[in-house]
């Protein structure tokens, strides 16, 4: 009996009035796991990240080196754990900035229309024409590589896409009668954007965020490969794959595990976003 009341009091999704399916739960669990690792990495790594600890390179998995060693004989487990900091941190920060900026600008453009919309859209279209890696190269070469510069560069690269997406959605919502009603009431643009439009485009915007996150992880690894991303001896996951790519034909764990790490993060982000907790609305019981 007491056990039952305890169960009923736990803040599970069902008790809070939400339904949250298992796919979403698994996704969230993996994201949280990586987030915890990113924060606690310095205490978890068995060896210093930059130290060559093995005489052999591309070592196999063993008791000493759980995930084997890399092309210089450094411990892969330590490198993957520390890499989480860069991949999770930089990518999440960049995707948040890109989507927030893009969505806000997109909604303003849709609501205001006219010249503001035309000029902003053409400007961002033109910007979209610059190859992303080239742009990153120029910026990092000019300003130098640091984490804030990387985050901002990645955010700027992905903002136009997010803007286009949000604008297209917002234009549709903007023609609905309830927006006309709000306009006829005399509401201003900030109210229209935050209260009338944003809640109605949230779902697709989140799905887009998940996809954009994956792209940012990939571009970040591309920048790292060119030596413009995270600086050695530290490395993000993408850089770990690149630097150990020679071992692919040998099937060494040094190239497999960073790939698995990237896949697990990007897939679980999308699993979570596609299966967010939904408020249970059936109350007639």
């Amino acid at each position: 009996m007491t056990e039952k009341t305890l169960l009923a009091r736990l803040p599970t999704p069902a008790n809070l009035g939400y339904s949250f399916n298992w796919v979403g739960r698994i996704g969230l669990t993996i994201i949280l796991l990586w987030a915890v690792i990113a924060v606690c990495a310095p205490w978890l790594t068995p060896y210093p990240v930059g130290e060559i600890v093995d005489w052999d390179y591309f070592g196999p998995m063993s008791d000493k080196f759980w995930l084997g060693t890399d092309y210089l004989g450094r411990d892969m487990l330590s490198r993957v754990l520390m890499g989480a900091r860069y991949t999770v941190g930089i990518s999440l920060a960049a995707v948040t900035l890109a989507c927030t900026g893009g969505v806000i600008l997109g909604m303003i453009a849709a609501v205001m229309g006219g010249w503001f919309d035309t000029i902003l859209s053409r400007l961002l279209d033109a910007f979209n024409g610059i190859p992303s890696l080239l742009f990153g190269l120029v910026v990092v070469a000019a300003v130098g590589s640091s984490i804030p510069v990387l985050v901002l560069t990645l955010a700027v690269i992905y903002l136009p896409g997010s803007y286009r997406f949000a604008r297209a959605l917002a234009v549709n919502v903007n023609t609905m009668d309830f927006v006309t009603v709000a306009r006829a009431r005399g509401e201003n643009t900030p109210y229209l954007i935050t209260q009338e439009i944003f809640p109605n485009i949230l779902g697709p915007v989140l799905a887009d965020l998940g996809l954009r996150f994956v792209f940012i992880v990939l571009v970040l690894s591309g920048l790292s490969f060119l030596g413009l991303g995270v600086q050695p001896p530290n490395a993000d996951w993408g850089a770990l794959v690149r630097e150990n790519i020679d071992g692919l034909s040998l099937g060494v764990p040094a190239v497999v595990f960073p790939s698995i790490a990237i896949a697990s993060l990007t897939i679980s982000v999308n699993m979570f976003i596609d299966n967010l907790p939904i408020k249970i609305r059936d109350r007639s019981e």
């Binding site: 306009r183 006829a184 059936d282």
Partner: protein, 554 residues
């Protein structure tokens, strides 16, 4: 009966599971038969399960619903026992479907002919040339103009009434034994509806096909059906021959349905207006339109020189078909579509053409209520927020006072206060329209512009909304401008009527004497096109074909 019937449905039960895992029954044990060549009408309000039953005859249920019990038999096919694959071979050949909105059912990027003969291609019924020949015959039987070439057009190149008939041709191409019509004329204008009904009726009689006709409009059903089944919340209330249902209804619900059809003549609110009083709304030579503006005039001109006066406490009806500019008139007055010429004076004060230049108090005094409550209410906001926003915006109400007022408003439109926590998607059509109205009332307006607010509702629900409008008028001294294509609703609530055609007012007259006094040919056509509760009305109806052709873009 069971041996000879084409369709027999026995103890049909359809259920669904809600997101909380609760099971609900939508159809609760319905049984009926359809004889060969017979058209049976399913009638009831929205949510009564009429479309759900009609779709189940094809073995189809909407996502989330499931046939939980009973048996459906069509001809030799036992639908309930069939696999999904077997059902799909039967769809289009044994049973076919005419949807409510043909405009949404046609693919805009394909030519009409390609889509009409699709069924014969899917089921390999006949070679393409033969199918096209047959389609042209069907077009002719359905009285479509230019039957040889209409198939080469794209869906946007034909009118709404024509598209609805083309959808019927699509359903008939596979020679089905049974055709399901799902409210096929609800979205059409009255004059167009007549054409479409006539075409459907003649084609069904010629082909000797059976039909299921789903509708909430008793007068339309009276023209086409042999038998009527009255439904309410998933159960059959009454079943009988059309004439019997109309003349001698037994069930109280059927009686209610019939009485809702007879409009209660409008008694004008006590004339408190003194001679010197300013009219609440005075419109002078207003012109408005859409599109890019060049030389001070928009590209597409809709309203042409419309003038009228509305006295305080009176109601003005505006009637006309779609495209007549009646909605644009309301929008121009409200400032949503700025007028480029002429003026609208509210309470004696001339209003600025554009919304942005009007004062908050002027905006408050004149509220507009839109036709479709589905799109007029933000689906992401709960009701208390929807109603609370104008309270905060116009009257600065917050917290407790605001909540109390929201409850009061809900009470005013006869809804329970507990509804305020729901989202619009969780309400019925009638409830949504009441919320839509309550939001306008929250501003404490003097004039409400009602844009077809009962058109999307069932007869009984619409009648209840009209009663509510009258009651609110008595209590709050409101004035309404009531836009509609339905003459009986206008008669039921308005003092004066404007008849609009192609952006112009062709006639203005008192509502009570509308049917007798109308002199303009278009007004007469409109009045004669309103279906009557009489099985012989459509057959007996004589309209001058030249007149019909002159006033419609067929």
């Amino acid at each position: 009966m069971t041996d000879t019937a084409l369709v027999s449905i026995r103890d049909l039960r359809i259920g669904a599971t809600t997101d909380a895992g609760r099971k609900v029954q939508i159809i609760k044990g319905v049984s009926f038969d359809i004889a060969p060549g017979e058209i049976v009408a399913l009638i009831g309000e929205s949510g009564s399960g009429k479309t759900t039953i009609a779709l189940s005859v094809m073995g189809h249920t909407r996502p989330g619903c499931k046939i939980t019990g009973g048996q459906i038999r069509v001809g030799k096919h036992d639908i309930t026992a069939m696999t999904e694959k077997a059902r799909s071979t039967m769809r289009g050949t044994a049973v076919s479907y005419v949807p409510q909105s043909a405009a949404a059912a046609f693919n805009p990027s394909q030519r009409i002919m390609q889509q009409v003969i699709e069924i014969s291609a899917i089921h390999n019924l006949m070679p393409q040339a033969e199918a096209e020949k047959k389609a042209v015959e069907l077009f002719r039987a359905l009285a479509l103009p230019d039957a040889e070439n209409i198939g080469n057009r794209y869906p946007h190149q034909v009118s709404g009434g024509q598209l609805q008939r083309l959808a019927a041709a699509m359903a008939l191409i596979g020679d089905p034994q049974l055709v399901i019509f799902d409210e096929p004329t609800t979205a059409l204008d009255v004059t167009t509806q007549i054409e479409v009904l006539r075409a459907f009726k003649s084609v069904m009689v010629q082909g000797g096909m059976s039909g299921v006709y789903v509708s909430h409009d008793l007068a339309v059903v009276a023209q086409i059906a042999d038998r009527i089944i009255v439904l309410k919340s998933g159960e059959i209330q009454e079943e009988g021959a059309t004439q019997q249902i109309l003349d001698a209804p037994k069930h109280p619900y059927t009686k209610e349905l019939l009485s809702a059809f007879e409009p209660v003549p409008h008694v004008s609110a006590e004339a408190q207006t003194q001679a010197g009083d300013r009219p609440i709304l005075e419109v002078k030579n207003i012109c408005a339109g859409y599109g890019p503006i060049s030389g001070g005039e928009p590209h597409v001109k809709i309203l042409k020189d419309v003038s009228f006066r509305l006295e305080r406490g009176k109601n003005l009806g505006v009637i006309g078909e779609s495209g007549s500019g009646k909605s644009t008139l309301a929008r121009a007055i409200a400032g949503i579509v700025p007028a480029y010429k002429g003026s609208a004076a509210f309470n004696g004060q001339v209003q600025q053409p554009a919304l942005a230049d009007r004062s908050k108090d002027d905006l408050r005094g004149m509220q507009i209520v839109f036709q479709l409550a589905d799109t007029a209410l933000n689906p992401a906001q709960p009701i208390d927020k929807i109603l609370g926003r104008p309270l905060t915006f116009y009257h600065g109400m917050k917290g407790r006072a605001r909540e109390a007022r929201v409850k009061e408003l809900l009470d005013m439109v006869h809804l329970p206060a507990a509804l305020r926590h729901r989202l619009p998607g969780e309400l019925s059509g009638g409830q949504k329209q009441r919320i839509n109205l309550a939001r306008a009332l929250a501003a404490e307006p003097e004039l409400i512009l009602c844009d077809e607010i009962t058109s999307a509702l069932d007869t009984i629900v619409a009648a209840a909304i009209l009663d509510l409008l009258k009651e609110l008028q008595r209590e709050l001294q409101l004035s309404y401008m009531f836009i509609s294509h339905d003459l009986s609703t206008v008669e039921a609530i308005c003092d004066d009527v404007l008849v609009m055609y192609k952006g112009e007012v062709v006639e203005a007259l008192p509502a009570a004497r509308m049917s007798q006094d109308a002199t303009h040919a278009y007004s007469r056509l409109l009045i004669s096109s309103v279906p009557k509760l009489d099985t012989g009305w459509l057959t007996g109806l004589e309209q001058d074909p030249d007149l019909v052709a002159a006033f419609s873009d067929r």
